[in-house]
Symmetry: C2
């Protein structure tokens, strides 16, 4: 294992300290229990939006804490769910009197722990479950579909609504709608290595790719030989489109997401290929973001996400945001 690492046991805390130092104008780090909150809390009367999950997917979620997106994020150990005490402490810290919306990726550990927090929390709250990955039903750590890069879309849209004064029920409705209109699929060229494990999560041959991979290296649809980028893009997009079934002319938001180890040049190549493919389907890429938005440590690979925008979702996507990893 080649990593910048002193000690796997202190890795997360040291990394979070560095994050908080680098973005001291935006965020505040709390330890025992661990969460990251906005430095400037929301005015009273606004819904607080909280997410969380295993670390190793940065900038998700800590990089999306700030005005226009999340109020707090609860990072677990690498690829491990945060614990209910983190979510409770975060909720108590950022609640502005109008309730808390939890955004949870659909993994068994996350849903269980957020449910436990939910059961103990006296503040009014609701949960949006994100399950945008169309690759497989059920998986190593999931019943039902997995939550992947579409989480960024949900966090942006709900965050913007909460900032604008939407009430808790409305934030929940918008989050559910954004999730229902969002689908993703990814592909891996390499595995990643969890520091505490010290060995790659899975083995993959020199010429092989994992089509439909999960963001922890969970198996996808199949292992196959590498093929041209345009063939990969066609397969990913067609899987996403056959799930969403957008009408011709439907304005789409597209995320071209790097899983961590893929150069920006290749992500922009995917952007170009995917945009052309959408055009050939008579569809319109109305908005787009390219970059490492939801990663799997140093995994080489990428995912494509589409969201079927409508006027409301689009204006929430466009609303101002200022976080470590997302400016609008």
């Amino acid at each position: 294992m080649k990593k910048f690492l002193d000690d796997a046991d202190t890795f997360l805390e040291q990394s979070l300290r560095g994050f908080a130092l680098a973005h001291a104008d935006l965020v505040q780090l709390h330890l025992n229990p661990t969460f990251v909150s906005r430095r400037a809390l929301k005015p009273a009367g606004r819904v607080a939006v909280i997410s969380g999950g295993g670390s190793g997917h940065e900038p998700l979620h800590i990089g999306y804490v700030g005005p226009g997106m999340l109020d707090a994020a609860c990072p677990g150990q690498v690829f491990t769910s945060p614990t209910p005490d983190q979510m409770l402490a975060a909720a108590q810290a950022v609640d502005a009197g109008s309730g808390v919306l939890f955004i949870v990726k659909n993994y068994s550990g996350d849903t269980m722990n957020f449910q436990m927090a939910s059961d103990m929390l006296s503040i009014e709250h609701l949960t949006v479950l994100v399950d945008d990955d169309v690759a497989v039903e059920n998986s190593t750590h999931t019943s039902g579909r997995r939550g992947v890069a579409g989480t960024v879309v949900v966090e942006k849209i709900v965050g913007a609504a909460a900032e604008a004064g939407a009430d808790l029920a409305d934030c929940k409705r918008l989050g559910d709608r954004a999730n229902a209109r969002t689908a993703s699929m990814g592909v891996a060229f390499s595995s990643c290595t969890v520091p505490a494990a010290g060995v790659p999560t899975f083995e993959i041959g020199a010429g092989e790719i994992e089509m439909g991979v999960g963001i922890h290296g969970e198996p996808g649809r199949r292992r196959e030989l590498i093929k041209p980028a345009s063939a990969i893009v066609d397969e990913l997009l067609d899987a996403v489109l056959s799930d969403l079934r957008p009408a011709p002319g439907q304005p789409l938001l597209m995320l071209v997401n790097g899983l961590g180890g893929t150069p920006l040049m290749e992500l922009y190549l995917l952007q170009q290929l995917a945009a052309r493919r959408l055009e050939r389907h008579g569809l319109r890429m109305a908005r787009t973001r390219v970059g490492n938005l939801t990663t799997s440590l140093e995994m080489a690979g990428a995912s494509l996400t589409l969201t079927m925008l409508d006027e409301e979702l689009c204006s929430l996507w466009d609303a101002p945001a200022r976080t470590a990893a997302f400016s609008a």
Copy 2:
């Protein structure tokens, strides 16, 4: 070679098309000759700032085109200098009547081609050469020190000055000063693969690191066994500090730069370790940026850059900028 790639011959153009599509609000792509310019040109009477170099270091330079930073960038093929016709066309396109400042990283191909463009260009112009890499004197493609991530600092500072109306001589003076007060050193854990070559640029053992690596995989100071992150940080920082020799209390800008294949969690760990090390030296990290700022395709590794700020440089660093990869 596992890359998102259809054809190495069209890779750069397709990638640039994707970049231009993703950032259509900010930039415009020109082909034959190839350069990227701001969508909204500067008002007349301002100096135009142009950079360029081999591709594969994204977001450098195209990601820094926009208000507050560059007016245009000239991307060469991967790790290959752009040609003089690109620089000439870019200069003619973005000149706003007050001359052009070229920012050039110190590599033989780049300096030669920018010099040729300079000889042919009738518009008033000056050049700032960036050579911030303290690892080695002279190298595979360089006489003197190499230009690496410190280029981002020079582009930001000169870009801000030009935006604010500084004249050509003043832009040159500030660029030279920023460069003289900036030093960097990097370390690689893995090689990278140039698409047209198809094989890794260099071989490196499972437990080895290249201390002082160049951004094209040029040899550094030595090959050694991997060591704890804090020992790596100490060595990188001490090399940089012994070059700059800042006085106690000197405010510093620090870049923690990922070379492409290193996860954000590790970069934030480096940030924390480096900030602590500076403190122990009685130095102050006044500003910082963490992320993939100047990359070497998918190389795993990182570099540290320090700039000795003064009031003028600090206010130019803080000035507003809006580009694909840098917001302030």
